[in-house]
Amino acid sequence: MKITGAEIFLESLKREGVKYIFGYPGGVVLAIFDLLYDNKDIQLILTRHEQGAVHASDGYARSTGKAGVALVTSGPGATNTVTGIATAFMDSIPIVVFSGQVPTPLIGNDAFQEADIVGISRPCTKYNYLVKDVKELSRIVREAFYIAMSGRPGPVLIDLPRDVTASKTEFTWPEIDIRSYNPTYEGNRWMIVKAAHLIAKLKKAVIMAGGGVILSGGSKELRELAEHTEIPVTMTLMGLGSFPGTHNLSLGMLGMHGTYYANRAVQESDLLIAIGVRFDDRVTGKIDAFAPNAKIIHIDIDPTSIKKNVRVDIPIVGDVKRVLTVLNKILEEDVKEQWGEVRKAWSRQVDEWRKERPLTYTFSNEVIKPQFVVEKIYELTKGDAIITTEVGQNQMWTAQFYKFDKPRTLLTSGGLGTMGYGFPAAIGAQLAHPNKLVIDIAGDGSIQMNIQELATAVVNKLPVKVAILNNHYLGMVRQWQELFFNERYSYSHLHSDVVPDFAKVAEAYGAVGLRAIKPSEVEPVLKEAFKIKKTVFMDFIVDWKEKVYPMVPAGAPIDHMLFEEAEKKAEKKLKAVK
């Protein structure tokens, strides 16, 4: 029996196990939307902006490990997805985005709502397709999900011209056969053996775990490796949760706003075991001065990540989980070492660094410190929540003061640094985990970048909580201006202590709005919000002067850190002079 392209589209999604599509209708995709109207298997979640739809599908993907799906119309609908796609691309998140397209005979004619989205999205998708013939459609959908999910995951876009969705053909479901795409999953055994020997030989070792550990589901193996060999673990922003943040071997995050002890340990190490990372500049600081004395073992599924930014002594291309399984086995069987004895001096040194400069901030009774809010959220949730963040100070304070114990509990735009990501991502995560507490830790700047999704959350009865750390500034921009631009706060002041009233905005949308001005109000507000089974905005008016510390200035080695005390001392001196 012949069916239409639109029907093939839906049947293919059903076979891929898709339950939710995040989307927005428009002219050329109406045939598909018409079918979705009474479809029982797949539910479309109508967002209020296409960017929100893509971020929501991304949040769904990050929190579940399954591919997220978005569906938008042509032209502006398609171009609005670009930021969401680029966000997923930088963080290797599997999503499949379907965009409508003008009918094939009109392509290239500058038709109404035509945009060359295949051309536009080429550099920020893992792969993309323009479907020219309805006979190819089911194969392309199947390939797209496979490509998105396999190897180093990433976004795939499929452009669907209107006539293709209208024309008819027999439904087929061909096996995947892409001769030019064969990701490497098994690491080279000889290299893994060499890595094991280095681990046994070198004493001052550090593990650096990244998002690849989470994507491959290798947290258990990572923990085995760390515990067996007694090697401390630091994580990149994307790696938070891959190893328990409360574990005594955890050093927390490294890099620009990493902990003092993580950065010191990496810099002084003689062996760096980098797992599922790509050595972003926010992690390495000055590249020539990064881990200068260390031999580097680099495990990653993407060969282009290896030796892209840093020199590598032992490259292992493969899936993190599989490579670590082999490595752990070799370490347990072949390499017999008294690990405690080997690492004794090093552990003592690392502990000294921990004591020397723990992560701190100065609590105040008068004004709410943003870190205090994050700490309280951690305390009250006992770490059992899905946290999303926006980008900037809110993101860094979350990374520092919330201890992530489990993978897929922190959803944040690491690579692209997309403001406006956290709220729609939380919506996607909440949909996938209806019984979990999902909290977006936001700034007053970022939340306004996708605030329209309040409607999506409320209409779909999603009890997402948004904690706005409101310092009425683009805080991270302001911080840089204070430190590096002579306190000239050029266009970073948002006046969001006055406009908007976030609580009222929330209420206007049918959500609940709460506000805390004094430190004593923080806990009651959080407790109340967590009790309410509705979407809640919490507006925390925080100390606008607060900065994220420690901080490594851009381009400096990562052990050249600025601390809060230094600032306090300088202030005192200044007062004395006056």
């Binding site: 550099p123 893992k126 792969y127 030019s180 795409y181 030796k307 892209k308």
Partner: protein
Amino acid sequence: MRHTISLLVENKFGVLSRIAGLFSGRGYNIESLSVGETIDPQISIMTIVTSGDDQIIEQITKQLNKLIDVIKVVDMTEFDHVEREMVLIKVAPKQEEKAEVLRLAEIFRGRIVDSSQNTYTIEVTGDEKKIEAIIELLKPMGIKEFVRTGKIAIAREGVKK
């Protein structure tokens, strides 16, 4: 250092754009590029001449390999291989230099493929040095224009450096 990279790619629309986009997006330079079908019409072969230090060339080949439409990447520089390029040169020599132009064409085993009252068009095939040499020699005689194909390369059978 300059490298000649040979790529087997799927013969689909958009592939050239993916490859060109990779080079431009990452700031690599394409010095020449030629594309053609292979014996299997579903596969095209591209020959790209690029330059960079070892680390950059390694990244280029890895990045090319990562593209989903790329089937195989060979850095020809690692193999003993034959390289050829063709040029069409339109010369407008003075009356007294016409003989010299024809002589040069002969020395370089070129062929005259078109001639008019005032011009000769010479076709020359060879490696890059040869092409550059004839261009240099013909310049003083008044080259109107020339068109080069870009390099193509093929490995010598059974010889590895």
